[in-house]
């Protein structure tokens, strides 16, 4: 064989691959993305880590900061407070969300679509909104202060109520998906075996939803322990980890201690992240393709009970939002409740609030545009790029990290990294650019995964065909992949926009007087600020998110109409 091969080789010219444009584009874009994630995420997190081991002068002090933290009773107590709040809120949210999701997926109650829409309301609002609404209701000037029976809303009670409002949509979404994926055959089997309803629930329903439940508990727990908006507004003197970070860093300029608390906050998210990944891998295998979807049958008593439950929960969600909405439209809270739109007139009242609002709008639009473009093309390179498997692997890994990093932690990591005098990028602090950068990174993972899922659904051979036709892949990306994935790209842009509008935790460390954001400006609102004019601020965010949603729905509808000729549904 070898000698014939050698003989043949005489007339054969060996063609060496030229460094073609395509390979160059692949390499540069992957490398640029890796560099981007390195600078905007990995290095800041590293700065945070190292800061927690340094003293004020920057010298390495080992675990001294941690020791100081543990021995400081005021600070150490926050761990207990945070855990208490997180456990209680998680328990309440999970139970409520389970009942709500069960009603939507397993009973025949009317108005399911409406209930689902209501359950999504809190997503449109900044997490400070429930806190503000509670102040209006039960605060020192509150309308229903007497309902508190002498207790104060400022503290654990307010925090837990606010957290339940803020985390409910996430929990409902996960549990609804889990409960919808039921296999009717198991229920038939249980019935044939004569299992009663309780037994069926315990042996079929609960085990079937167990991954969803675990996932919910992890997500809610993480959200609560890392959220900063609710305790800031309504926590009063009740300290939790998230407010400690803020106080240490912004209030006392004690960066080292802030770093330690940040590291502690990183722990639950990181654990939840890893556990959730492991679970999701299992859940895929659980639901076989031969399963028969479960269709609920009407049962009067049950349906009635669940209808009531769903009504009460929806009432709670609408009530909280409604209070803020109402407060923003009355003349003088709580003394003159006649309606007016004066608080939305922008130059007359609250010019600061409006400036912040337009900053937010600009920031959200830039995040949606730039983030959408970067994240989608990045996901494309990871999923469809040819060669450089190791680099694609690294980018994919880095793209998953932001999900495990609470916004607050990302925010302080940014200060440590970008504020460093030796960092050539330190001019960025306080600019719009760093706010956009931080927000893109903060919401990177979910957007990236959405893009990857969509990309996996299109034919894997488009790039092969394109190569065989000598058309560079980036041309096919632009002419085929982007149009085909446009609905997904719009979804990502909306997700980024709404989150950028409402986010507080990361950007609270990074704004300057010129770039103050609407959601952040709510932080300054305390009891004295609980005026009708101030209530217009969070409502403006809610209305903007809602309008963005409506525009997104409209755009999707138009797109669908325009492309229905080739898009099969």
């Amino acid at each position: 064989m070898s000698d014939t091969g050698a003989a043949a080789a005489a007339s054969v010219t060996v063609r060496r691959p030229k460094v073609a444009g395509e390979a160059l584009v692949t390499w540069t874009s992957l490398a640029a993305l890796a560099l981007f994630l390195l600078v905007s995420m990995v290095l800041p997190l590293y700065a945070l880590l190292s800061k927690s081991f340094e003293d004020r002068s920057g010298a390495f002090v080992g675990l001294a900061n941690y020791a100081a933290y543990v021995t400081n009773p005021a600070l150490f107590q926050s761990i207990g407070n945070s855990l208490f709040i997180a456990l209680l809120s998680t328990a309440i949210t999970t139970v409520l969300a389970f009942l709500f999701a069960y009603g939507l997926s397993r009973t025949c109650i009317p108005g399911k679509a409406l209930f689902r829409a209501i359950a999504a309301i809190p997503i449109l609002a900044p997490s400070l909104l429930p806190g503000i609404a509670l102040v209006y209701l039960f605060g020192n000037q509150g309308m229903l202060k007497s309902w508190m029976m002498g207790e104060s809303i400022y503290g654990p009670i307010g925090i837990v109520i606010g957290m339940v409002f803020f985390t409910l949509p996430h929990a409902v979404m996960i549990l609804y998906t889990a409960l919808s994926l039921a296999d009717a055959r198991l229920y038939e089997a249980a019935q044939v075996l004569g299992a009663g309803r309780l037994k069926t629930f315990l042996t079929v329903t609960l085990p079937g939803a167990r991954y969803g439940l675990i996932s919910t508990i992890l997500v809610v727990f993480t959200l609560v322990i890392t959220d900063f908006g609710v305790p800031k507004v309504i926590g009063g003197r009740f300290n939790v980890l998230a407010t400690d970070v803020y106080k240490q860093v912004v209030g006392q300029q004690n960066f080292e201690m802030g770093a330690v608390v940040g590291m502690i906050l990183l722990l639950p998210s990181a654990i939840a992240f890893v556990v959730d990944r492991l679970i999701q891998r299992r859940q895929v295998a659980q639901f076989s393709s031969r399963a028969v979807p479960y269709a609920p049958k009407p049962r009067r008593g049950t349906d009635l009970v669940y209808l009531l439950i769903c009504l009460v929960i929806s009432g709670f969600l609408i009530g909280i939002l409604g209070v803020a909405g109402f407060a923003s439209m009355v003349k003088y809270w709580p003394y003159n409740l006649s309606l007016t739109l004066a608080h939305y007139d922008f130059t007359a009242v609250d010019p600061d609030g409006w400036r912040a609002y337009f900053n937010s709008l600009k920031m959200a639009a830039l995040t949606a545009l730039i983030g959408g473009a970067v994240i989608f093309s990045g996901a494309y390179m990871v999923e469809k790029g040819r060669g450089w498997g190791w680099l694609r692997g690294i980018v994919q890994l880095m793209a998953m990290v932001p999900l495990a990093v609470p916004g607050l932690v990302l925010g302080i990591a940014y200060i440590f990294f970008f504020n460093h005098p030796a960092n050539p990028l330190n001019g960025l602090i306080g600019t719009m650019a760093i706010l956009v950068l931080c927000t893109i990174v903060h919401f990177y993972t979910v957007s990236h995964l959405t893009a990857i899922t969509a990309l996996k659904q299109i034919d894997p051979e488009f790039e092969s065909v394109s190569a065989s036709l000598k058309v560079p892949f980036y041309k096919t990306f632009w002419r085929v992949t982007v149009p085909v994935c446009l609905p997904t790209i719009l979804d990502i842009a909306l997700y980024l926009f709404v989150n950028a509008m409402t986010t507080v935790s990361a950007v609270v460390f990074l704004f300057s007087a010129r770039t103050k954001l609407a959601a952040v400006s709510l932080l300054a609102m305390d009891d004295a600020g609980a005026t009708a004019a101030a209530a217009a601020r969070p409502m403006r965010i809610v209305y903007t998110s809602a309008v963005a949603r409506a525009l997104h729905a409209l755009a999707s509808r138009l797109l669908q109409r325009q492309t229905h000729a080739w898009r099969k549904r």
Partner: protein, 367 residues
């Protein structure tokens, strides 16, 4: 086993010692093959044997781990797919859903600085060639499977590649369309004189379309030959079993070109490698090659007495199962034409003389 690297004058594509590994798994093991210019070659084999892997290595889509690929006297082993000269049609067709049929077909032409009018003309030509001239402005989703397949073919041919690669192009279609397209593709290929490699796991497809068939199994090539050779003279038991049907009967070598089954000796054509007397072998004979007659059996003409165990009417022929006491009760399947069944009065229980024609017997070493 193969005459891999020898540089025949017309050799267009030479695959030399190609190996492909996925982690620890070897999907291709030292595969060598030569494809002549203008030839239609089919890769045939069971699922997972490495057909697609080999095709993708030829295209450069999943480069080989080691070995060389020489196309048109150029060693293209290291080139990315965009540097190689081929057109390809996938099982999924991979048509661009948001582009019309005409735009799909013209996709590869646009970047070549051709004039708009020239592109349009070429696209029209191609669409006429595949019989879709009137569908130019539809989207792929509005076409039937067979039509989509033809669009994919036209798109692959648009840039006049030197090599056409087809990965199970017909497997997503229903039987009737498939039959029709087989003929059409083959005709087109012959008309264009285009060197073509098609992957399939449908033996009928390979037998009717290919100039030569490459039978693969577990990452190696078992046999390369014309459909006739592969069918009549399978090199080994795998090939014999995979293509068509064959009786496999255990026997012992008794001498030169002679084997014994039960108490009967058979003469055969001999094997390429000499077999030691006493060695156990497997004797293979296809059901349609088994001859029955009403006469007296004799070892002179490789015949022996047997009884019809059962008889199934298949349609255009009968499938008989013949039991022979003198072969230790072995059962031999035989396909008999209606004429033979009538003339010899074949019916269950009936004793017959059965002969295995010397020319039609294959002998394989027992495994």
């Amino acid at each position: 086993m193969l005459d891999g690297g020898n540089g025949t004058a017309g050799a267009y594509l030479r695959i030399i010692d190609v190996t492909k590994t996925f982690g620890a798994f070897q999907a291709l093991k030292n595969v060598s093959l030569t494809v002549e210019e203008g030839e239609f070659v089919c890769f045939l084999g069971p699922s997972g044997c490495g057909k697609t892997t080999l095709l993708r290595a030829i295209a450069g889509l999943d480069p080989q781990t080691s070995g060389r690929i020489i196309q048109a006297n150029q060693d293209v082993s290291l080139l990315p797919p965009s540097g190689r000269d081929f057109g390809i049609v996938f099982q999924s067709y991979a048509l661009f859903p948001n582009l019309t049929v005409a735009k799909n077909v013209g996709y590869g032409l646009e970047s070549r600085k051709a004039k708009r009018a020239e592109i349009d003309k070429r696209v029209r030509e191609l669409l006429e060639m595949v019989g879709l001239a009137d569908q130019a402005h539809k989207y792929p989703g509005q076409l039937s499977g067979g039509q989509q397949q033809r669009v994919a073919l036209a798109r692959a041919l648009a840039t006049s590649p030197g090599l056409l690669l087809l990965d199970e192009p017909l497997s997503a279609l229903d039987a009737k369309v498939r039959m029709h397209l087989r003929k059409e593709i083959k005709e087109l290929q012959r008309r264009l004189g285009l060197t073509t490699i098609m992957v399939t796991h449908d033996q009928e497809e390979a037998l009717t379309m290919a100039d030569r068939i490459v039978v693969m199994n577990k990452g190696v090539i078992e046999q390369v030959g014309t459909p006739g050779e592969i069918y009549r003279e399978p090199d080994n038991r795998f090939v014999a079993d995979f293509i068509g049907q064959m009786n496999f009967l255990p026997g012992t070598v008794v001498g030169d070109a002679r084997v014994r089954l039960g108490q009967v000796q058979f003469r055969h054509r001999g094997t390429r490698e000499a077999l030691q007397p006493g060695a156990t072998v497997t004797l293979g004979v296809r059901p349609e090659d088994v001859v029955v007659n009403g006469g007296t059996p004799s070892e002179e003409d490789n015949s022996f007495p047997a009884r019809v165990a059962d008889l199934d009417f298949i349609g255009n022929f009968f499938r008989a199962r013949l039991a022979a006491d003198c072969l230790d009760g072995m059962i031999i399947a035989a396909d008999l034409s209606s004429g033979v069944v009538r003339d010899c009065g074949v019916e269950p229980g009936r004793p017959l003389a059965v002969s295995l024609p010397q020319e039609r017997i294959r002998v394989f070493p027992a495994d």
